[in-house]
Each structure stands twice: as structure tokens, then as C-alpha cells.
Amino acid sequence: MNIIVCIKRVPDTADADLAIDRSGRDIEKTGLAFDLNEWDSYAIEEAILLKERFGGTVTVLSMGGEDTNESLRKCLAMGADEAIRLTDPAFSGSDGFATAKVLAQAIRRLPYDLILTGTQAEDDGFGEVGVMVARLLGLSHVAIVTRVEMEDGKIRAHRELEGGLEEVVEVKLPALLTIQTGINEPRYVSIMGIRKVAKKEIKVWGLSDLGLKEEEVGLKGSDIGLERLFLPLVGEGAQILEGKPEEVAAKVFEILKDKGGLV
């Protein structure tokens, strides 16, 4: 079974204070560390687990600059077989739809039975690229997948719904799944793995390699224009509670009781 996984390299903003850059449409990224999008690390792990059980290959795709090689190589070190980076000055400014067009066009050039993506990206969080890739390729898709079972060329995918509900759907291959965190436990990268793929070529495909036109991608090919990014204003009336967790819990309890939040 040939599996394609689409990944994204994103900034790690856990400890940082975010600031808006001069363009007003992006955050300031200097000093931030970048890593594989968390959802994608589950997608790549799921692909490798399926390969280990059923054979085949895993190919990783990502649209991004040279820095993205590090995340692609990490996937290779985990056990993926091939990595392709999609890059072109014309891709810059792509929204989810334009990105999906680039990815779909690359996927058309590859053999595949199954495509996995993360459910969403940590940075912009639209959660749309995977599903759009499926529609562009005319494939069935299942979103927010928490468990994958395979039999007779069919996939039984478990979906997470609101309120703790779970849904099980069956789809025929080829198909696309967007993978939810927690579906597996992404493996640690070993030094042996890193050494093994240190010299492996990461293919680079640009606009002309993909047979795309400039107006189809980038800002021109995008439907959504980002107008302005801003930090929400700090509201009034917030109360910061301090102390040990148990003390804070006790204070919260008192406040809720006072304000009639507990019946």
C-alpha cells in the first residue's frame, strides 16, 4: 500500500509572547523555534504503522522553504521512504485552497492508495487543507480520525464527534484521512534513523515541475485574503488567582458559589 502524508512546519509558540509583525498580517517569527505540526506527527506515525503491517511505501510532502527539509528529514528518520518539498516563489501567500491545489497536483504525479494529513495546523488552525485536497482529487475523505482499521481494501475509520461521541465509517481506497492527535504514540526518532537518512535526497518540485500556472497559486490563486491579524484587547473584570493549585481551586469554588454559579 502506498501512502502519502502531507506535513507542515510550524512555529512553536508555547513559551513565547506573540507579536504582530510590520505587515500586520503575520506574527513576528524571529527567535521562535520551528517543528513538525503536532497533528502531522500523528499522521506520519499512523502511516508508518500501516506500512509496517501491510507493506508498501510512505512518501512525505510539504510545501515550504528550505527550512522545511529538517521536518521532512525527521519524517524520513522516523521511517518514511521518500520526501518531496514543494517550493516556488509563486507559492508564497497561498491560502488553504491554493495550498491544497499545489499538494493535489503533486499527489497526481505519485502512486497512492491512501493519503493522510493532520486534522489541522497548530499555527493557522483552519483545518481545511486535507479535506480540500480530497475534493480536488475526487477522493472520499474522513476527517478527525482517531482509529484506523484496514480490511479487504477498505478502511474503517473512527471519528471523534462532540460530546464524546464516536462514529465509525467505512471508505473504499483510495481515500484521504485527516488524523487527530492521540490516535497513536509517535515514535522517538533514533540516532540510527537520523544517520541512515542523512544523505538521502529530498526532491524539490516547483511551479513548472507541477505544471501549474502562476495565477492558480499564491495570492492570486487564493480565495481568502487575510486582512489583519491582531491580539485581542484585554478585557475588564478579569481576576488572576495565585497560589498552589489546591488554594486556587478553593478560591474558584468560593467565587462560583458567591456568584450563583453552583446550584
Binding site: 508555547a14 513559551d15 527567535g31 522517538y188 533514533s190
Partner: protein
Amino acid sequence: MEEFIKGGAFLIESISPEKIFTPEEFSEEQRLIAQAATEFVTGEVQPVMEEIEAQKEGLLPSLVKKAGELGLLSGDIEEEYGGQGLDKVSALLLMEKLSQGGGSFMVAYAVHTGIGSLPIIFFGNKEQKRRYLPKIATGEMITAYALTEPEAGSDALNAKTIATLSPDGKYYILNGQKQFISNAGFADLFVTYAKVDGEKFTSFIVERNFEGVSLDEEENKMGMKGSSTRSVIFTDAKVPVENVLGEVGKGHIVAFNTLNIGRFKLGGGCLGSSKSALQDAVSYAKQRVQFGKPIAEFGLIKHKIAEMAIRTFTMESMVYRTAGMIDQILKRIDPHAEDVGMQMANGIEEYAIEDSINKVYSSEMLDFIVDEALQIHGGYGYIHDYAIERGYRDSRINRIWEGTNEINRLLIMDMLTKRAMKNRLPLLPVAQRLAGELLSLRPTVDSDDEALTLQKEMVEMAKKITLLAAGAAVQRYMMKLAEEQEILGWLSDMVIEIFAMESALLRAKKTMDRFGDERAEIQKAMVKVYVNDAFNRIENFAKQIFSAISEGDTLRTQLSALKKLTRFNPVNTVSLRRQIANHVIKVGRYPF
């Protein structure tokens, strides 16, 4: 042949930024190795920190073995013996990142992959390497290093442990006691030392289950409480003659070379711990509100955060510069040579001075950093629930082991003197020339600029001052200088500060040259503050040295020359520190 910079040469040469390795140049592979190590400690070690600290039976060795499965233990072991054969920059990255798993895990890892196994890698014969290294690589066998004895600490060669050849010539019978042995409780293998026939200091590989090897109780330590520290007792211990490491009577070569690389690696460990403490302190300062705002917004807290970040930066610049130099010299070695290990040890010995410098500097800076990190936590820092309480205790041992900082300070000057005498380093002619030019020497730059011209000039002047002071001390005491430990200590401090200033300066310049001013902005600010302060310390050391060794007209001449050499305008460190602190607070961690 690859070119290399001689050990200690930084004192007399003006080195260009292109010649040094900086962390901005980590390769993709090195960055992935670093990330693999970080993910392992955050996923496997940090969540069980409390249990490690309580010495939960079997936990620490099982984590070491898990690290082994991922290849994290075998960076320094050649591929032929199941290792990864990584360069020293990568090996140091592993050490740095794995030390974020806390002091106790760091000890187990550092001893096993460092002083516990490097003697075999460097000095083991093929049979010894074949027998032990593959198991050390996976963690199936965990190692320890048993040198110290109750009566032989800094004076290591004064060991009382005796080895006697058995009547059938098959065994050495060891008797004696080794003390404060890290990893002892779960080690399968000890590299130890004993005197054959009471005089020939010799290294041995001793397996835990050899007859006559026993352990004393766990020591109740101040820090690193999760690590195992016990005495190892040899009572007619039977060690096969094949387990002599190196040659009989040449144990000191094994011992000292092992310590060189142990000191080098300790720098990486202190660096990782410093970054953890800084991150902890910054995160606390951002969320702790007093007088209506986060304490990170107060000047005195910013001052601390900036100082912690600056010293972490200098430390990082020094240790990776050294790693880069070692890699450069090791490239000259034929990996298939019969005595490849010995050649590696010799290559590393070239930088024994830098190793001692890094050891002293990084352990003292870590102590400063954990102290300030705790202070930022206020009363909470004194409470066990906060990680910095452990970090503070764990830090302290680093100034003691791998040769106390006092011994290392003496060693720095001892090695420099010996290399000067043997003309390995032309220190004497340079010092003599400077003494001749004493009256005409003066700085030619006095205004600060964005190209760090002033700082470069100050570093050059600091080298001259140090050589003048050293030259004057040699002239005054001649062969008896070794008895003037206070003078040697100050001279060492000057040498250490020069390496620190210069490493930071060259790194910032390289960042500027390669990536432009914007990316170098914070590094430049750090260099300006550090050089400003370190230069004042150097001036003060020089004053004290001259006042101790000279009097009358000689002293007056020396002090007036010093005054001229130190005529620099200070920079505005308040605004620079605020700029640095604001950036560190914004990114929430060590910023590079």
C-alpha cells in the same frame, strides 16, 4: 592535512570568526540529533523526575537502556563496535539536550557515555573493545569510573589500591576502596586504577560480578539525589590480566586523558542545565504578579534575566568553539589506524587547556544562573515543589568533580607554562616583546560602534595585559611560580575571561557576517555587556598581581602602563541589558 588552531593559541593569535565553529552552523543532522535528545527527555525522563529523585528501584538504569535503544548512548563509539561514531559537536549536543532531563539522569548518562566508557574507546585493545563496546553502546552494560579514594581526591596518583599478580599469572588481585563512585549502584563495569606491586599506577576494567567486588551503602547527597553514588570495595578482587587497560604503569595517561574529555563534556551538561534554569526563571517572572504587574517588567529582574542569558551565551560559544576545534583536529586521524583511540586522545589533549577553561567557566556560570533563577522565584524557589530548588542543589557538584575548579585553575597555568617551555606555544617571545614595548602600548580605538570594533580592541588589550602580568610573574618567581597559587589563580581567571570574551565576540561577528545585522542584534548587545564587565575584572586581577609581585618604581611603571592599556569608555549596560532581557522575555527561553 586539515589545518588546526593550536590549543592555547587564542592567547597570542588574533583569530578570525571564520576559523571558529558556532551554534548557528549546526547542520541539519546535528539539529535533528539535538531534537531527538530533547524529545526523549521531555517524553520519558521529565515526567518521572520525582521518582528518579526518590531513587525508585531500577528506574534510572531502565531509562539509560531506553536511551540506548535510540542510539543516544553511542555517539562516541565507533561504528565498528556498534556505535554511531558521531562528531564531537553532535556528541556535545546530545550531552546538552539530555541534561534537560535533570541532574540525576544527566549524571547517569554523562558517566556512562563519558568517563566510564571513553577510557575503553581510547585505550582499549581490539579484544577489549569487541567485548565491551557493543554492550556499552546499547546500555546492556552500564559503566562507572572509579578513580577517587578516601585519601586520594585531587591527588589522584596517591591511590592506595594495590594490584598483585596471582601466582599463576592469570589475574591481578586488587585490594582497596574507591569512593564517591557515580553509577556504582547499577554499573556492570568499572574503569578503575590500582598500583601494581604498590608503585606502578595502572588502569583496569573490572566487571561488577568479578569475585571480590562489593559496594557500600548509597551516599546521602546534597543534590543529584536520584543518581547512585557509592564506594566500590575490592577485597582480593580477581581481575583477569587481559583486563589491564593500556599498559601497566601507564594508568596516569588513561586517567588524565579521560578527564580532559570529561571536562569538555561537563561544559555541555552545564549549558543544558543553564538553559533549563533560565527558561524556568523567565516563565516564572512572566506569570508572577506583584505591585500590579508581572515581575519580569521590573528593572532588577530584567538585569538578572539578561545576565543569565549573556553568560549562557558565552558558555555556549566557548564549548561549541572547542568542540569544533576538536572535530577539526580529529579529521587528521586515519579512522582505520591500529592506534586510532590513542591518536584521538592525543588530538583531544591538544585542547586540554580549553577543556579546563570550559569546565571552570561553565560550572561557575551555572552556579550563578541557578542562584539568580532561584532568587527570581523568591520564597517559592526555596520550596521543593519548584524545579529550581532541585536545580540549585544539583548545580553545586560541578565545581568539585572532574578536578576541582581550584585544581583546574592551577592546571590551566601549568599546561600553558609547560607548552611555553617546550616551545609548543611561543608565549615567552610574545610576552618579552610586549614587555619591551610597554611604554608605547595603548589602545587605538575608543568609541563604540555596531561592528564591535571596540570590543575586539578590548579583547586584544586583555591578551596583552594578561601576557604582561604572566611575564612579570615568571620573571619574579622563576621556577618557584608554582608555589604562588593566588597569582596563578588570578592569571587563570584572566585566561578564562579572554577565552569567554573572544568566543562570544567571534560568534557574534560570524552571525553578523553570515546572516546580517538583524539576526546578530541581541548577540552583539550581549558581547558589549560581557566584554565591558569582563575587561574590568581583568584590569582588577592585573592590579592585584602587579601589587603582589612588584614594588617601588617597577610597580609604578606597571600600574601606569596598565592604566593606559585599560583606557576605554564604558558602554551603557543598563539599556543593553534591558534590550536583551526584553527579547528573552518575549521568546520565553534562551533565545538562540
